[in-house]
């Protein structure tokens, strides 16, 4: 109780204080507030992770009813993830925002919104009253909108921000719809009403209700085809905001889905299949598009879609496990999903911070213009490389652990019977393997062309390493990445309480089912450490054996050519050209080609602009139709004042008539129902 009050008081104090401070203090107060909030909420979160659930009932008002604050292990897990990423983002942002010191009022808004986002995210995880939940959701949506449009004087930023705003409200609309549905039948706004409602209705109703909620949450999480806001919003936001968005804001959609899974009693098998299919498609589509992007941050944004897909595969498997009563599958699926949620928040935020360092030292995100930054920015390039390896799911990093759990789940699922099940799991295996390979193609491209080779472009200032203020939070993230990679057993044990929630549906065999998983996990930790050790050993051996041998430095061997220039390097586009040609049917790439003509050609060139086919189909085309439809009513807006007054009168008359005609309408509806 005291903690909640302290939580609220700290937020209010900080928000009222920030506008009146100098720029330097704004940052310091923001960071310290974020830290205090993180500490306060983490105390409860860690307690819940060890099995002590937190519950407090606010009186609320007549409208909302009682507002319960319930923090169980699932909320706890997400709160811990949110806090860690927000903390590193705050520390990183403190340095990153130094470049914008002159925009004083803009910065105050930014600081306030950052605190609001963090507290709204935590509230979403803990509030279990539908109205309060929606309000917290709305606060999160609005404040993240304001965070995104920090550079609002740029047109594309504003466009992306408005795109985000509209889509997050479509998301809220679906959530509201679901909540209204439940509230009408039960008359209560408590989340427990959802369980009550779905428990007392048919399984089909449960599926429909879950789908209604999950469309809402899928928009936030970025499942294909609801992902279109994501590749716009991430690149334009300041880097620490991109990190928070990709790391935790889209994860709140995942939290929502998992919460609904816990609440709604339904046909888990059907939901599992749907989720598995959508997730595999999201994963493959996301990474396929990521490969062809030229903008580094946009590339990372598409990768978020891929990783959401991987998390979704885990959730889908878990649902299939619940549906079939297979505890091991349930444990593996949800453990993979929950751990990947943590992992993705770590390496994705690290990648965005790395991209931020690159942006601030070169002022560009165009991969084709960058190159050879590895030597100028050794720390950034090292951290980016580590995060890139982690996101590809390679050992000894954390991404491998969660992907391994999901793979293991799928191979466990194969042992069950049922053709549909086996075929869908093979589809999943194929998808995940392909995702892994494609991610490797993507990140070898990204790292190779940004940090390796020589510079492709002459910048006004020579790019330099970021200051230590930026690097320290990045190293903190890196340490946690390594910790998950090398000591996966600890983290799996920490997950046992959240996993317990999911297996409770049927039985309480988790300890027995979870046992082989933990031994496997400790084996993986050992193998990863062994791999690191072996690499070190071989490298030392090499140093030892070649120490006395002559080592010369020369130019790169260019097959006899001795004057290679930076322009002769393989570019990012050419690196993926073979792939692009293969996958052409899936993409919609706008090409501009100017052939070289004549004896003395003036110029030639080729431009490719990748566009999203899903956006074409699901956003642009429907919008076009909508516009066409509404254009038919243009005659109503004819600019004539008399007409507008007429509309008003007509409307008022209609409103007045309805109460009189109410009985008739009621009778009519009754008649319709009768039929």
């Amino acid at each position: 109780m005291e903690i909640i009050i302290a939580f609220i008081v700290v937020i209010f104090l900080a928000i009222t204080l920030i506008p009146f401070l100098s720029v330097k203090w704004k940052g310091i107060i923001t960071v310290s507030t974020v830290t205090i909030i993180a500490v306060l909420s983490s105390i409860i979160a860690f307690q819940s992770l060890s099995g002590k659930n937190f519950e407090y009932l606010f009186g609320g008002s007549l409208v909302t009813g009682i507002i319960p604050v319930r923090i169980d292990a699932l909320s706890g897990w997400f709160i811990v993830i949110i806090n860690f990423t927000c903390l590193t983002a705050a520390f990183y942002g403190l340095q990153y925002m130094k470049a914008y010191r002159s925009q004083k009022s803009n910065l105050s808004l930014h600081c306030i919104c950052f605190i609001l986002v963090q507290s709204a995210l935590i509230s979403i995880c803990s509030l279990q009253n539908m109205l309060a939940f929606l309000i917290a959701w709305e606060i999160m949506a609005l404040s993240s909108f304001l965070l995104i449009i920090f550079e609002h004087y740029k047109r594309e930023t504003l466009n992306a921000g408005i795109n985000f705003l509209i889509q997050s409200h479509i998301c809220i609309m679906f959530l509201t719809l679901g909540f209204i549905w439940v509230a009408i039948y039960t008359g209560s706004y408590d989340f427990k009403a959802i369980a009550l409602f779905s428990g007392s209705n048919s399984l089909l109703t449960g599926v429909a209700l879950f789908l209604c909620f999950s469309i809402g949450f899928a928009i936030k999480a970025g499942f294909v085809p609801f992902h279109t806001w994501l590749p716009y919003a991430h690149p334009v936001a300041p880097s620490h905001i991109s990190g928070v968005m990709s790391g935790v804001i889209i994860k709140i959609g995942i939290y929502g889905m998992m919460r609904m899974l816990l609440l709604i009693r339904t046909d888990y098998l059907v939901i599992g299949y749907i989720l598995l299919f959508v997730s595999v498609v999201s994963g493959i589509y996301g990474v396929m598009l990521a490969i062809i992007q030229h903008n580094l941050k946009r590339l990372l944004a598409y990768h978020s879609i891929e990783n959401i897909g991987i998390i979704g595969i885990g959730i889908g498997l878990g649902c299939i496990g619940i549906g079939n009563g297979n505890h091991l599958l349930t444990v593996l699926g949800f453990a993979g999903a929950l751990l990947h949620t943590l992992n993705h928040s770590l390496f994705k935020s690290l990648l965005f911070y790395g991209a931020g360092n690159v942006y601030q030292s070169t002022q560009t995100m165009d991969i084709e213009k960058l190159g050879g930054l590895g030597k100028q920015m050794p720390h950034t390039s090292f951290l980016f490389l580590m995060a890139a390896l982690a996101i590809c799911g390679l050992p000894p990093f954390n991404g491998f652990v969660s992907e391994f759990l999901i793979y293991n789940g799928m191979f466990t699922g194969l042992q069950m019977s049922g053709n549909g099940l086996i075929l869908s799991i093979v589809f999943g295996i194929f998808g995940l393997a392909l995702i892994g390979g494609l991610a490797m193609l993507c990140f070898t491209k990204a790292f190779g062309s940004v940090f390796s080779g020589t510079a492709r472009h002459n910048f006004h200032h020579t790019p330099g390493e970021a200051n230590f203020g930026k690097l320290i939070p990045m190293y903190a993230v890196f340490i946690l990445i390594m910790a998950v990679g090398l000591f996966p057993k600890t983290f799996i044990t920490a997950l046992s309480e959240p996993l317990h929630l999911f297996t409770e549906h049927s039985d309480k065999y988790i300890q027995a089912a979870g046992l082989p998983v933990t031994t496997t996990m400790s084996m993986i930790g050992l193998c990863s450490a062994g791999f690191l050790g072996l690499t070190g050993l071989i490298f030392l051996l090499k140093k030892n054996m070649t120490g006395s041998k002559p080592q010369t430095v020369n130019i790169t061997w260019a097959c006899g050519y001795i004057a290679p220039t930076a322009k002769m390097q393989y570019t990012a586009s050419s690196f993926i050209r073979a792939y692009r040609k293969l996958a052409e049917p899936v993409f919609s790439i706008h090409k501009k080609k100017k052939e070289i003509q004549g004896v003395f050609p003036k110029s030639g060139g080729q431009e490719t602009h990748p566009y999203d086919k899903a956006e074409e189909w699901f956003i642009d085309y429907p919008l076009q139709l909508l516009k066409k439809f509404f254009n038919r009513f243009v005659f109503l807006q004819n600019g004539n004042l008399q007409f507008y007054i007429l509309y008003g009168v007509a409307f008022i008359t209609l409103v007045l008539i309805i109460p009189f005609a109410f009985d008739y309408i009621k009778a009519f509806i009754k008649f319709l129902n009768h039929i």
């Binding site: 590809c392 391994f404 194969l414 390979g437 070898t444 090499k542 041998k549 097959c559 393989y570 293969l582």
Partner: protein, 301 residues
Amino acid sequence: MISFILIILVSLFFTGIIVRTKSITSGRKGPGIFQPMKDIFRLFKKGSVYSKTTSFIFQIAPSIYIASIIMAIMVIPLGQYKGIISFDGDFVFFAYVLGTGKFFSIISAMDTGSSFEGMGASREALFSMFAEPAFFILMGSFSLLTGHTSFQEIFASLHFGSYISYILGALATFVLVMITMVENSRMPIDDPKTHLELTMVHEVMILDNSGFDLGMILYATNLKFAMYGALIANLFMGSFPLYLTIPIFFIIQVLFAITVGILESFTARFRMNHNAQYILALSSVSLLIFLGVLLVLKQFS
């Protein structure tokens, strides 16, 4: 442990047999089977030249590459005898740890800033990406067939009974041989003896490596061959005792090496831009195996 030692032993003469086979089929006497290993040892003793465009990644990549392959070898069992590492789902670790090595070899090629090496890196990334699903579906079929999820358990309980299972064995061998060729960049995917950089995959990626590094990379190729050969040999061991498995292991390895030699002598390299489709077709062969497994398990009845 025993499998690890055997694989290291085989790796010493595997490429030697390939080279010898190739020279015999082309009517030459050819070098002894330990010649490739002697070349590698000579490289180990040499100094090296580093390009000035390269960074630390270029220096450490070969060590990581070979370490990844050694880790992968540790996972491989010998029939019912466990490898050094064995746990549920260890083949996922096998595939992914190889991926780490590949990632580093690709970025170290990019690190040189050479147009040729970038090209090779691009191809390597693309081809190995397409080979991955084939391997996983193959292992998935086996795990479905045997009900286990680790190399050792799968291979120990793999036994041939019906006609379909023989076909499955043949297909699996085919897939594994082809994956070996893809992963090692040999014919018909890539021609290691070609003279034109534009048509190379793996060879062009290591143009700038020299001395100890080059030796490690070349030896890694040998190890990789022996490793995949061991996987193929495992298909035919079942739960035989040691005095049977060791001869089987050597016979299959030698046969495999000779097959590779013959393949390289009598086939032409594919057109580079058709390689990707071809490798993706391997996944369909894997799917065929999977359907065969479903038939064996009588899922369709």
